[in-house]
């Protein structure tokens, strides 16, 4: 472990590689995390199937790519299909658990996650899949740092999507309705907002965002029907760290998480890369508890 830290000190160029890789992939994590925060904040549903939406989107993108479509162009149809899928799921399942307590929605989405994993397994088989973006790799510092163009493209796309989402939430009628519902569903209903429709739209929007993230993942990493859980965990860590309704926070936390994963993989070894994410969740929760305790003391 110390050896690895020493390398980073002696050859700082590798820091660049780790940071770049981490931050670029972190942008994709941010998408899934933002979707989670949206559903969590507006509907108070903690979606444990978040990562499986990502995988499903990825598989749909891969499927289209196999049939000759450029995977980047697959983003739009996949997002549309995932939106429709989210809509159906909302009316079938989610609608029935919104008013219930925490555990009902956790159980329902956990069940949904299992069904989706097995469904993907049946539909696409258990083999690992990757789509080829056809992009090049950029080389810097005499080959010491390499960045694939697809990561840059996906970073930019994630940024554009985030801006579009913010504008949509601020400016559009539906965006306003979503924010109103998140603040106080009952008041929104009294003022004529069709909250049922808002919920359905929010859930579908999340599904579409995850789908888009999945398509990007299919070109950067690999897909496997049972890999969704890793993305669910990441999304939960990010949202817990950033808090609900805090898009800049979600983005910063996601980019940070991406970088931390890379550093822990480098310093501690790949076996700790994901364990670090979970460890981080514990640290964040303890820290938040500590902050709250301090605030309580101040109030007293």
């Amino acid at each position: 472990m110390w050896d690895n830290l020493q390398i980073l000190g002696l050859a700082p160029v590798f820091n660049v590689q780790l940071l770049v890789n981490g931050v670029l992939i972190g942008a994709v994590f941010a998408l899934a995390a933002y979707g989670l925060a949206l559903v969590w904040g507006v509907m108070n549903v903690k979606n444990l199937a978040q990562g499986d939406f990502v995988m499903m989107g990825g598989y749909l993108g891969w499927w289209l790519a196999e049939r000759g479509l450029n995977p980047i162009l697959a983003l739009l149809p996949v997002a549309a299909v995932m939106f429709a899928f989210g809509w159906v799921l909302y009316w079938l399942i989610i609608r029935r658990v919104i008013q219930r307590d925490l555990f009902t929605s956790l159980l329902a989405t956990f069940g949904l996650a299992i069904v989706m994993q097995q469904g993907l397994n049946l539909a696409f088989g258990p083999e690992v899949r990757t789509a080829d973006s056809g992009f090049d790799t950029r080389v810097f510092f005499d080959g010491m740092v390499t960045v694939t163009d697809i990561r840059i493209v996906s970073f930019v796309l994630c940024g554009l999507l985030a801006v579009a989402l913010v504008l949509y939430m601020k400016r559009s009628r539906m965006g306003q309705a979503i924010r109103a519902t998140a603040q106080d569903a009952r008041a929104a209903r009294i003022l004529g907002v069709d909250t049922e429709r808002v919920y359905a739209f929010t859930f579908s929007l999340n599904s579409a965002i995850c789908g888009a993230a999945g398509v990007l993942i299919s070109m950067i990493w690999v897909l496997q029907p049972f890999y969704g859980i890793a993305y669910s965990v990441r999304a939960f860590v990010i949202v817990t760290a950033a808090g609900l309704g805090n898009l800049p926070g979600v983005i910063i936390a996601a980019l940070g998480l991406g970088a931390i994963e890379q550093y822990s993989g480098f310093v501690l070894g790949a076996q700790f890369q994901q364990a670090t994410v979970v460890g981080l969740l514990v640290v964040i929760l303890v820290w938040k508890q500590f902050l709250m305790m301090r605030r309580r003391e101040n109030l007293q």
Binding site: N4, G125, T137, I217, W221, F226, A230, Y263, Q271, Q274
Partner: protein
Amino acid sequence: MYKTKRTFLLAATASAVALAFAGPAAAKVEGDKIILGSAISITGKYSQEGKNARDGYDLAVKMINDKGGVKVGDKSYKLEVKYYDDESTPARTAQLLERLISQDGVKYVLGPYSSGTTKAAAPVTEKYKIPMVEAEGASRSLFTQGYRYLFAVLSTSEQYLASAIALAAETAKKQGKKPSDVRIAMAFENDPFSLDVRAGVVDDAKKYGMKIVIDDKLPRDLSDMSATLTKVKALKPDLLVVSGHTKGASTAGRQINEMGISVPMIAMTHCESADIIGKFGAGAEGILCPTQWAETLSYKDSLFGTAKQYNDLFLKTYTGYDTVPYQSAQASAAVQVWADAFTRAQSFDTEKLRDTIAATNLDTFYGKVKFSPAGNNIAKPMVLRQVQNGGYHVVAPSEWASHKLVFPRNAGGAKQASK
């Protein structure tokens, strides 16, 4: 009414008991048929590999039957395999083997697909003292339990990449360096199979006094190796070994290419199932891949002929294959071991057959078969193939090599080369 019901129950029980006793005696050899049994993956995560294995079993059975079957005494018997679907889960394998043996009366067993299911199967065949010849469970832990009735025709997992270590030592010597100068980077998935592979590498590296500079364990659902590969870039090892099933090979293949990793020798398992040539093209050039069997090897037997002839026959018989998976070849070899045992034992007695199998010394198109006291095949080496000009070619061990090793491997991939 009550009385009739009880009589009926009694009769039903009696007939069930009678059936249970009658079943086994009749079923091991039915008329002129010898029934082999296997609980194997038809559905579930190993469905494809299970099919590969089944096709291998069936092809050998068909060939043996076409050539007159197995002669025991002065009568010729045809082989037949009774399959059950273990749904790729070890618990099911054990259950179904119980059923094959105790209900269907099968006395001669062929293995399931995968180490995990074979691990579940072995205690059952041990319990009933039924010999099992398996072709698809490579974990070395299968052969450390003291099982008496388990025989495997394939090389065990710790041999998978050990040949790469030997090759690295050989190459170092050729370049005027000492084998102990070789520095190794390892990335292995944290699962029983890959850890076995790792144990073989570590043992052999120790033997040569090589230094292991990276020893990363990849989690089950890791889809990113870039941190490990960044370390590889920093430490510049002489040999990089990777094993993590298909996903490990896919991830490594892609990222080695993307990151322009220029280690002179790279070896990884599951190249074929990850289709690294098809997916990464020139980026896969020079990667070394261990295999149990290759159609270019000069093994041969009287049933199938040469490895190449087996290859052609297989592709002619089954559609949907571009190349013959080694899983199929070794499955065929397992059936050959059974046929050979019946012929030499001239008996259907399981104990006698077990001893006959233990004394097997058979040349097959798949390689030589000779079992250690633990039951694994010690006569057939793993061979290393290198990706050269978009194809897999055997480069080690040298007595089977069809091509010369390209060393150092062409640094960087297609994507860098075009820049």
